[in-house]
């Protein structure tokens, strides 16, 4: 695998912002009541992420170290304002469904984290590619939550009914607690897969840390 594809894949899989780094949790849980909202939010964040990282990377020689965080936040806020107006113009329904969470993209730790940890040290193309990977990883994470919550909580996917009229929706899934439970479920699944992978890799039983407690 070349360095560039690795740089791109990193955000989608190995360093997935939602499932591995658990960053940017607020929009992850708040807007994923339906697959549509999740997709819109993911794409909006990806857009801001890519362009902010590109600009941060282009300006990395000019910006003094002391004021870099403030500069990054201003750059991010500018792009978010643009996205906010674009979504409002394109689809008022989506705009109303996402509400204040579009503007809250500004304080999404993924973006500031990428700007500080990666874009401020890399050439523009590398930074943008990495940001695109991260953004797609974030979108995938949101979709994973949004689809499960919409199917269980409303019996639909992207607004299309899946189970017919007799389906009893599991309402709690589209309410706030459902967000926590579904994300916990996904994390459990990934933990379990990782542990199984470790166990098949080394047949001897591994001390997984659980036994450290309670002694």
């Amino acid at each position: 695998m070349t360095e560039r594809t690795d740089n791109f894949i990193e955000g989608i899989w190995r360093q997935n912002p939602v499932f591995v780094m658990t960053l940017g949790m607020c929009p992850t849980l708040a807007v994923t009541v339906s697959a549509n909202n999740a997709l819109a939010m993911g794409l909006a964040t990806t857009f801001v992420l890519v362009f902010s990282c590109l600009l941060v990377s282009l300006m990395r020689e000019i910006v003094p170290k002391e004021v870099r965080i403030a500069t990054y936040i201003l750059i991010i806020a500018t792009f978010v304002t643009a996205v906010d107006y674009v979504i409002q113009a394109v689809s008022l329904a989506v705009y109303e469904a996402l509400g204040a969470f579009i503007q809250l993209i500004v304080v999404n730790c993924i973006i500031l984290g990428r700007a500080e940890a990666h874009a401020s040290k890399s050439p523009p193309i590398t930074a943008a590619v990495n940001a695109l990977g991260m953004g797609l990883g974030f979108t995938l994470g949101l979709m994973a939550l949004g689809c499960v919550r919409e199917i269980l909580g409303a019996g639909t996917l992207f607004g299309f009914s899946l189970f017919g009229a007799q389906f009893q929706p599991w309402v709690i899934m589209v309410l706030p607690p459902g967000g926590f439970f579904v994300l916990a479920g996904w994390l459990l699944l990934f933990n379990w897969l990782r542990q199984r992978g470790e166990q098949t890799a080394s047949p001897a039983p591994q001390d997984t840390g659980g036994t450290h407690h309670g002694h």
């Binding site: 658990t22 960053l23 949790m25 607020c26 929009p27 849980l29 708040a30 965080i69 403030a70 936040i73 201003l74 806020a77 500018t78 978010v80 304002t81 906010d84 107006y85 509400g99 204040a100 503007q103 809250l104 500004v106 304080v107 999404n108 730790c109 500031l112 709690i172 309410l175 706030p176 607690p177 459902g178 967000g179 926590f180 439970f181 994300l183 916990a184 994390l187 459990l188 933990n191 379990w192 542990q195 997984t208 840390g209 659980g210 036994t211 407690h213 309670g214």
Partner: protein, 193 residues
């Protein structure tokens, strides 16, 4: 929406529409700083203070921006105000209580990127609250955030002593706890409307 009583706004922000457990604002510190009860309490207090200052400044700024017809700068100016307020709190705690400053560590500057703080400023603008209502909302939001953080820290301190299966450990367990807390807070939902 501009005629709600102050007590109603306050109670609704603390319980029925708790910032963390029903609006999903401020989850990063909620998951990150809820290991120990004492740290959680001081983090809650610091955030509440920043929220109050941010709400006050945001109210003034919003009036100013509307007067000069520059509403599209709202988001940018809010975030600058919040960043400065956090800087102020940071300098203040460093001077008054160096121990607390060290305990809060990286999370103090991270209040800037706490969506609960920006959330207060944005919600009070969209709901067109008056100055008194905005302040009640910010204090209520801060109290609700602290309450959730302290409850969570208490639970997690207990959990450290129990034998948890390896798969569930870490963020997954914290999220399940948060889900249960959120379920409990849904019981207050009648209070909000």
């Amino acid at each position: 929406m501009g005629t709600e009583s102050l007590s109603h706004i306050f109670v609704s922000a603390v319980l029925a529409n708790n910032f963390v457990l029903s609006l999903f604002l401020g989850l990063c510190p909620f998951l990150g700083v809820s290991n120990r009860l004492s740290t959680a309490a001081s983090m809650g207090a610091a955030t509440t203070f920043v929220m109050f200052i941010a709400s006050l400044c945001a109210y003034g700024l919003n009036a100013l921006l509307i007067a000069v017809n520059l509403e599209f700068l709202r988001l940018i100016s809010y975030i600058v105000v919040i960043a400065s307020a956090v800087q102020l709190v940071e300098m203040f705690t460093k001077k008054v209580s160096p121990a607390l400053f060290r305990a809060l560590g990286i999370y103090l500057p991270l209040i800037t990127t706490n969506c609960a703080v920006l959330g207060v400023a944005l919600f009070q603008t969209t709901r067109e609250y008056s100055l008194a209502q905005s302040l009640a909302f910010s204090v209520g939001g801060g109290a609700g955030f602290s309450l959730a953080l302290i409850l969570m820290a208490g639970l997690r301190e207990r959990l450290q002593l129990s034998d948890v299966p390896g798969v569930v450990q870490g963020t997954a367990l914290t999220l399940m706890l948060a889900g249960l807390l959120s379920l409990a807070f849904m019981g207050f939902s009648g209070l909000g409307s």
